[in-house]
């Protein structure tokens, strides 16, 4: 099967709507078909990967832990809008330490998250075959 470049745009936070968890489900499906997958987190989407989420008090599943599994599915391109982080008083240090093992570099653990400007993000999006919005 031909490989296409997919990017998933995540623009909403985790629990207020169903978009975030649905996006993650579809990301994992694309990974199962061995596609080239990138994720972008912009606007309130950056809250999806904030460290220290605890959903016990609202009786919902804390699916943020699933992001740690993405590296094992060869999903290691997670782009975060620097402008969206800054607007929300957040920095890269507030995000989950998501990593993958680089098979081309003796399986060294490397960070999956890259904080990028919106200009860079638009360039990354223009290089994709498919953009899916959530």
């Amino acid at each position: 099967m031909a490989t296409k470049k997919f990017i998933y745009l995540n623009r909403r936070s985790s629990f207020g709507t169903v978009y975030a968890i649905e996006s993650l489900e579809v990301v994992l499906i694309a990974a199962a078909f061995e596609q080239d997958v990138s994720l972008a987190f912009i606007d309130d989407g950056v809250y999806q990967i904030v460290e220290g989420q605890n959903a016990d008090g609202i009786g919902m599943k804390n699916f943020s832990k699933t992001f740690h599994a993405l590296g094992d599915y060869d999903i290691n391109k997670l782009y975060v809008s620097a402008e969206s982080l800054e607007e929300r008083g957040l920095s890269a240090d507030d995000l989950m330490p998501l990593v993958y093992e680089d098979e081309d570099d003796d399986w060294v653990e490397k960070p999956s998250i890259k904080v990028v400007s919106n200009v860079k993000l638009s360039k990354i999006m223009s290089e994709q075959d498919v953009c899916l919005s959530f």
Binding site: G16, Q53, G57, M60, E86, R88
Partner: protein
Amino acid sequence: MLHTVNKSSFERNSLKSCLNTIDDTSVILLIEDGVISAAKNTNASMIADLAAQGRVYALQGDVEARGISSKLADNIKLVDYAGFVDLVVEHGTAVSWV
């Protein structure tokens, strides 16, 4: 009156609409994605004055779920679900800015 806001101020204008029409004795309770407005961010100035008057509450479970417990703006009062009920009882008519 008690005003509840459940949308992020970065995504919808419901907090802004609420603030435009709120009177001097009403309080605001931020719930669900509304608690994003309780964090220290570029929208925090929207509710800073009301919070300084002790009139802004946020639902603790929703704050914790979004990982922003350590990033709350000044003077935000946290309540649990029982506290939510107390606010409804205390302030009479509730308005939900959905």
